[in-house]
């Protein structure tokens, strides 16, 4: 199972949705993933991959493909500063 498949599996599990519904091009909005669901999925991904996903990166994830790309780079230890740059001024993950 590659990273993308694993991520989709986790989203399916956490959202309690049918496996076939989630593709790389699905957006969070299409899948009914709200801000609280989003932080729940981030938590599950962090637990699964034993990584920390910075808020600045998390805020930029709006589609499954963005999640896969960002996580792949985090996992490979690549420089993600451009992602962080892109995310500046983004909305907070959840209302407080």
């Amino acid at each position: 199972m590659n990273v993308a498949e694993k991520i989709i599996e986790i989203i399916v599990r956490e959202q309690h949705i049918e496996p076939g519904k989630v593709t790389l091009d699905s957006t969070f909005a299409e899948l009914g993933i709200d801000s609280l669901d989003g932080v729940n999925i981030l938590f599950a991904l962090e637990e699964e991959f034993k990584i920390d996903i910075p808020d600045s990166v998390a805020q930029n994830m709006k589609t499954i493909r963005q999640v896969v790309d960002s996580l792949t780079r985090v996992l490979e230890g690549k420089d993600i500063s451009d992602l962080v740059e892109l995310a500046k001024g983004g909305a907070p993950a959840a209302n407080t």
Partner: protein, 409 residues
Amino acid sequence: MRRVVITGVGVFASTGKDVNSFFENLLEARSGVCRITRFDPSALSVQIAAEIPDYCPQDYFPPKRLELLDYFTQYSLIAAREAMESSGLEVSDEERPRFGVVMGTGMAGANTFDSGYFNLYAKQATRLHPFTIPKIMHNAPTSQICMEFGAQGPSLATSTACSSSGHAIGAAFHLLKYDMADLMLAGGSEAPITYGTIRSWESVRVLAGGNGDPARACRPFSADREGLVLGEGAGVLVLEEFEHARKRGAKIYAEIAGYGLSSDASHITQPTVDGPARAIRMALREAGANPEEVEYINAHGTGTRLNDPTETAVIKEVFGDHARRVWTSSTKSMHGHTLGAAGAIELVAAVMALERGIVPPTANFTQPDPECDLDCVPNQAREKKIRTAISNSFAFGGLNAVLLVRRLD
């Protein structure tokens, strides 16, 4: 002045998962106290509690919803569903801004705290689950009930330890009386059966031992009483403005006619006579009731050394000679002390006593205590068509709540 009536009742407790079975078991003096099964209690010196038997959350909630609900919120929703169903209410969109919720709890999401902090401290987890906050917060039951039933009116949560739901129902009563709402769901819930919570209560030294015979552990007003037994559950009532209820032909269980509240301002755990007495008098005054009119008191009756003689003195102070005649039972002897749910669960017991004309007993009564010389309806339910009852809630922290209910006929 607007009048307020009770048109729906719901209970989820160790002694019954609905109002009928709950009240039947109280009348039969059946205890819900058992050895703790929720976790292995072997390390505790007190290994008993009034647990909801064979509770399976999946029977009541779909998986995704359940992830956001601590036990205390689950119980509140289950009791609220029964209360709404028994009321026969169908709330229209126009009525929603006049439909509110007030729920009380003492310890809120203790289970979520307990398991989360176990991961944090014992297992060195570096992060907690993101649902921790929405699960533990004291207003979770209020908000979840509002969401499930579309209640958009005045809504809040109360937390005054063992008086929490007495205050919740009192607040809801006054929101209706003073024309801020037409319909309210009010009550309380508690789920305190965790290792950490029981350890905390153990160290206060107010818990009954009774590991050998759990069902008989809680013996309010008895000379050989040893303390309280923690219990879990929820009670929720539908309160409705009288004309609103009459117009739709609702079944009316009773009128809420009086609410009294006070502060001892004395000691953080030790009760006074004066504080609770003032709360009872305030409830009587609002209802325009003479003390002699009260025929049944659902006592706070925790079964601790200190509460029961103090409560006896309170009742004598307010009711004078009538104190020995008024039937005063503690149903905590059976459903345990459900803390923030106690005021609501016990008000349901009092309302059902009015409705059915039979008063539940104080179970496990063995021998009289000269300091608790009230008629505590020992061990046997008693039939009588009573018209007026009060329910007492006296909390740690000295904050007292008293509700007076009356048959409408």
